[in-house]
Symmetry: D2
Subunit: 173 residues, 4 copies
């Protein structure tokens, strides 16, 4: 059976981050190679993010955080910049919503912030899944069904870290 998750991009542009929350050290997709990464793009004043996206990200983190999945929240402000770009506001939000996974404030750059622009996000919430080899495997805007998200994560966690075949193992960079 062929994999239902195609490779959308062989290489995902690196996160460009203004400030991190809920992590001692900055993260990068490069350093996370070998893990599956779930990137949740959100805005704190986005109702669907608060109602669906972030609670789903929390469940992902709780269920699969110890089994090879790294959940990252990406705060991509493209509206109400004067309100949401305040680091103090995001810090209060992260605290009040009890978010327990690392959250990155996307680096501002005009109306659309840097990482959001590089990842070509359509809006918030968006869920991106990056496989162990650093390839983009899911890129979905809007509400994602829990069973669909779970299946994608289960599949990616199950994939080998390297491409090995009878001809040898290809290094993925």
């Amino acid at each position: 059976m062929t994999s239902p998750l195609p490779v959308l991009l062989p290489h995902v542009p690196e996160l460009q981050v203004e400030r991190w929350f809920k992590t001692d050290a900055p993260l990068s997709l490069d350093l996370l190679r070998g893990k599956v990464v779930a990137l949740h793009a959100f805005q704190m004043l986005c109702p669907a993010c608060v109602a669906h996206g972030l609670p789903q990200a929390q469940r992902m983190h709780a269920l699969f955080g110890g089994r090879g999945l790294q959940v990252i929240g990406l705060h991509t402000v493209f509206e109400h910049h004067e309100v949401m770009e305040e680091a103090q506001a995001l810090q209060a939000f992260v605290h009040e919503y009890g978010i327990s996974f690392p959250v990155a404030a996307d680096k501002p750059q005009g109306r659309i912030p840097t990482t959001m622009r590089a990842l070509e996000l359509q809006g918030t919430p968006s869920l991106l899944l990056v496989d162990k080899q650093g390839r983009l495997r899911m890129h979905q805007f809007g509400r994602v069904d829990d069973m669909v998200a779970g299946a994608a994560i289960g599949e990616l966690l199950q994939e080998p870290e390297d491409d090995c075949s009878a001809d040898g193992c290809r290094v993925n960079r």
Copy 2:
């Protein structure tokens, strides 16, 4: 990363069926080797089955039925036999609830029906996942979280059908 789904049984006892619904031909775990099988044990008078188990089975069928998953409903009557063992009652139930995957009436045998006894089910609803090699990989009584169920299915769908290694491919029987 080791698989999070251990092998609970290397071989699952075959279904013992009184009557099938929603299928032209009887199914068997043996014939389904190569597919992942989700077995939903239910009773039509079990509130949690109606509220959670069966709708979840329907979603599984809709999402993964075309991608290598075979969903089977197993009607395991261990209460109110005089009411629920009526084939007419189960047929009406399957019709009214719009169930679109195959449903098997477990073969009666005293209080606990045959397959339920062989599979050592604790009650209804129960979800069992059988992998492509016919091994039992999940056996859960009660409500199962959608994301957990999805991850298990994603993982099993992604597994190879055969155990191949440098030493050759072992046939699974």
Copy 3:
């Protein structure tokens, strides 16, 4: 402010019941004069009844049963008569779903049972509210919003039992 609940019928046809469950003595709308009555018409093989109507009726009973509301379930079989008209089946259903308010099996009469016919029900689930004076004040087929149902009950519970004015009190019969 005029009442938002118009009088739909000045007198509701009496219940015609084959058999009662969960009550020591038969009930009648006539004997319940002075109370508000919530009549939930359902069929045990009706998915929307099981998912929405009956749980809502249970909440009504729990919240307002001690404050002047009498909830009655009316089993109106108009499909699969051979399965659902079995008293044993309804008894098992009432038991398994933990229904704690009185349930009446509507008196069979051809395809559409007697009370269902007299009340001109469109189908199941249906919610009917009868006020303290025995008048029909709500008659709704399908899902009813909890807040709407609550407001109607609150309004009817608050109404006086008799029509009293400066001219005297009119007896309602």
Copy 4:
């Protein structure tokens, strides 16, 4: 039957408002005498307010706004003042969440704002119902069941605006 909603306070302290949103003219409980008022106290960074309280207030407004109920949101900042006291932040919040009823920013006064202090609110979300005579009839902190809220509103909408008896009509001031 005695009313299930006791009079908690014969007179509710007037709202002390820093700024109004979604209304052309400021409102006051005094001017709203004759209407039932549902006061929803919230904070924009309060998860339960966003998940339950505000959507419930929206439903109240949609269902009963044209039938004698005035819904008012009261933004009572007692945490993260530096973030939530920004009028710009509240304006953006009201816009993004599509709130269509009047919202008042409570007048700041140290840690606990003025109206919140006067109404002795325990926290957010809180729901207060004021009857047509300006009396406090419900004061509940935390999540309120839709059916309970509906029943209270139905009862209060049904109450007469004035206390009239055989002895005459008492003016309520």
